[in-house]
């Protein structure tokens, strides 16, 4: 029983990171119809910003702030430079643009910084565990769960209460009509990218705290997971992305924890099979709604 609760906490913590990433991906997708494959590279940028900040002796808290700020600004810049010129182009063009941005960033990281990983020393207090009712919960896990919860609450307040937030949800449903409300398209798109960068930055910090190093290709796997989560939750649905992230993490953690030994090599295929089965049962995704399809 205790192990079950422990694994539950494990999944919650991993799911939080997936959810943040997926939410950022979904936010951009919902306003532009673009799956931004360079999304994961924003995490990488966070990592390098932290690496250089720590190298300059700025200390961890400042490095974290700089890392997140860097991802946020980079996301906005990415939109301005790369995606705005092709905004009215077809989906394939935008997709290729995002792949190109990602590839260029990889090249720059590999050639200007290093192809080898760069260490990001994590303060030792972050590596401990705290005892919560007989359960050992890692500090990083706790931080991950807390950060996710706070961020999701803040974001949902923003999306429900502020005009820009409502406009973003409206834009996700019908972009042209949102413009007919006098909402500036550029502002909505830039906000979506900025928020996606912020989310990627926070997810990046959590991810980096686990891995302890940054390398040029670090963003690839997380963006893949986030993509699966987004599809699972329902393309275009923000709540769906969050739910998809958690569901994916729960499937992964529980398979890894409880599959019998002989089955372990197949855990990834089983995960994907489960995702496909879920999508066959609910083709619109877990939260996706018919209205989105219109």
């Amino acid at each position: 029983m205790e192990i079950l609760i422990q694994q539950f906490v494990n999944a919650l913590s991993l799911g939080g990171t997936y959810a943040l990433l997926a939410l950022g991906l979904a936010m951009v997708f919902s306003v532009l119809g673009l799956i931004n494959f360079a999304h994961g590279d924003l995490m990488t940028l966070t990592g390098y910003a932290m690496f250089f900040a720590i190298g300059a002796g700025l200390g961890m808290p400042l490095a974290v702030v700089l890392g997140i700020a860097c991802a946020t600004l980079a996301a906005v810049a990415m939109e301005r430079v790369a995606f705005r010129p092709v905004r009215d182009a077809n989906t394939a063009t935008m997709l290729l643009t995002s792949l190109a941005v990602s590839t260029i960033l990889h090249m720059l990281f590999q050639n200007l910084i290093s192809a080898r990983p760069r260490a990001i020393p994590v303060p030792s207090w972050m590596i401990g565990a705290v005892d919560v009712g007989g359960l050992a919960i890692g500090v990083i896990q706790l931080m991950s769960i807390t950060a996710t919860a706070l961020l999701l609450i803040a974001l949902s307040i923003f999306l429900r209460r502020s005009t820009l937030g409502i406009a973003m949800r409206a834009a996700a449903l019908d972009f042209p009509v949102t413009r007919l409300m006098g909402i500036n398209a550029n502002a909505v798109v830039a906000t979506a990218f900025g928020l996606s960068g912020l989310l990627a930055g926070v997810a990046g910090v959590l991810w980096l705290a686990q891995r302890g190093s940054v390398d040029p290709l670090m963003g690839f796997l997380p963006v893949l997971k986030a993509f699966i989560a987004v599809v699972l939750g329902g393309l275009g649905s923000l709540a769906g992305a969050v739910v998809g992230g958690f569901v994916l993490a729960f499937i992964e953690v529980f398979l890894r924890a409880f599959l019998p030994d002989g089955w372990l090599p197949f855990r990834e295929s089983i995960t994907l099979t489960l995702v496909i089965v879920l999508l066959l049962v609910r083709p619109e995704g877990l939260i996706g709604q018919r209205e989105n399809v219109r």
Binding site: I3, R116, A129, Q210, G212, E252, R267, E268
Partner: protein
């Protein structure tokens, strides 16, 4: 330029040259090809290897070249793509290279190696450590790097020497290295009387090891030692989560974790023992190499793949010198009979080894964020698991 270290390295290089002939006035050069993944996922290995190769080349040419001929390197990027690895290798064959260095990973190495094999040009992977690689391609393919079974055996010997009875191994079937090395370790560990109590599996890049760690905590009997060949980003993530869960079982790693990240992990990595291709003890050739490296590139060396790249270039030079010819079959035969070639990491022997060299395996321990030399090992051949 730092005269001292240049001289010292030149001496190492010169050691290889004595057997060769003297300069032959005017001669067209010798070309060596390198089909590596300089961009893409292999860049972290092939880029440093290339840096080492180029350093060796500088020294060889400064010392008069091979058989008096200057050596030229043609570098082609496979973009870490297996199909491209064979295309690029064929281009190098067409360019007339006399030997070829291929990628660090098995699949592209085989793809390139086959092209060289067909053209009867000897080739070697810079740092692929799978012992079955040369046999998979044919008589023109060589290994360079410390083989997985060798490292596994050295680690097992060390573990048994520490009195560990029960081992947990953590492997990933994503690459032969992360899968086979722990399996070789387990095989050798059991052959030496130990027991593998459980095998865990992970996916490279998964980051989250909470499920595996929770399982390790619940094992009965609990393991005395954990062996894994996970490397960045998996190893740091794993060991942090392991230690965070209060599990202080000793951990044995392999050369993949020989990286600055490991030494910056702080308390969690304290005491981790890992194998690699050599330790730069004072006065060693490796130390001289490190100095020359920093002088050429302006940054300290941060991985052993530079040194093993350097070693490989030196081995190729030695093979050509020994063959006394740039003819492929002649170089191949000479290479296959090389003995005690002095290189940056120590010495390398190919004779009677089926093209998988015997070279020293060093064990290192992480202590206070520094690397401490545990010792150099060459296990009894009977204790090395068959590939």
């Amino acid at each position: 330029m730092n005269q001292v270290s240049t001289t010292r390295i030149a001496a190492v290089a010169a050691g290889l040259m004595v057997a060769g002939g003297t300069a032959q006035g005017d001669s067209h050069g010798i070309t060596i090809g390198y089909a590596g993944g300089f961009t893409g996922y292999l860049a972290p290995y092939d880029q440093p290897s290339l840096n080492g190769v180029q350093l060796a080349l500088d020294q060889i040419n400064a010392a008069g070249g091979i058989m008096g001929m200057t050596v030229e390197l043609i570098v082609k990027d496979t973009r870490s793509d297996t199909a491209q690895a064979s295309v690029v290798a064929q281009e190098l064959v067409d360019d007339g290279v006399v030997a070829m260095i291929v990628s660090c990973d098995v699949d592209p190495a085989v793809a390139s190696g086959v092209m060289a094999q067909v053209a009867e040009i000897p080739s070697a992977s810079s740092c692929a450590s799978t012992p079955t690689l040369p046999a998979a391609v044919g008589p023109y393919m060589f290994s360079n790097y410390t083989a997985d079974n060798l490292q596994g055996a050295v680690l097992a010997e060390y573990a048994r020497g520490q009195g560990y009875e029960n081992a947990y191994i953590l492997l990933s079937r994503d690459t032969p290295y992360t899968e086979k090395l722990p399996e070789y370790f387990g095989e050798a560990f059991e052959a030496m009387g130990g027991t593998v109590v459980a095998v865990g599996e992970y996916t490279m890049g998964q980051q989250d090891f909470s499920a595996e760690v929770t399982n390790i905590g619940g094992l009965d009997p609990s393991p005395d030692v954990i062996q894994t060949s996970a490397y960045e980003p998996d190893f740091p993530a794993f060991i942090k989560q392991l230690r965070a869960a209060g599990i202080d079982t000793p951990v044995l790693g392999s050369d993949g974790i020989d990286s600055p990240t490991t030494f910056s992990l702080g308390d969690v990595a304290e005491g981790v023992v890992f194998s690699n291709a050599g330790f730069a003890s004072p006065g060693s050739a490796l130390e001289a190499f490190e100095m020359a490296f920093e002088e050429k590139y302006g940054t300290p060396n941060d991985t052993v793949f530079t040194a093993t790249g350097y070693d490989l270039m030196m081995v190729i030079a030695a093979a050509i010198e020994a063959a006394g010819s740039t003819d492929g079959p002649a170089i191949r035969d000479a290479w296959d009979n090389l003995e005690n070639v002095q290189v940056a990491t120590g010495s390398i022997t190919y004779k009677d080894q089926n093209r998988v060299p015997v070279r020293v395996v060093a064990l290192n321990q992480v202590s206070g964020g520094e690397r401490v030399h545990v010792g150099d090992f060459s296990p009894d051949p009977s204790m090395i698991p068959a590939p």
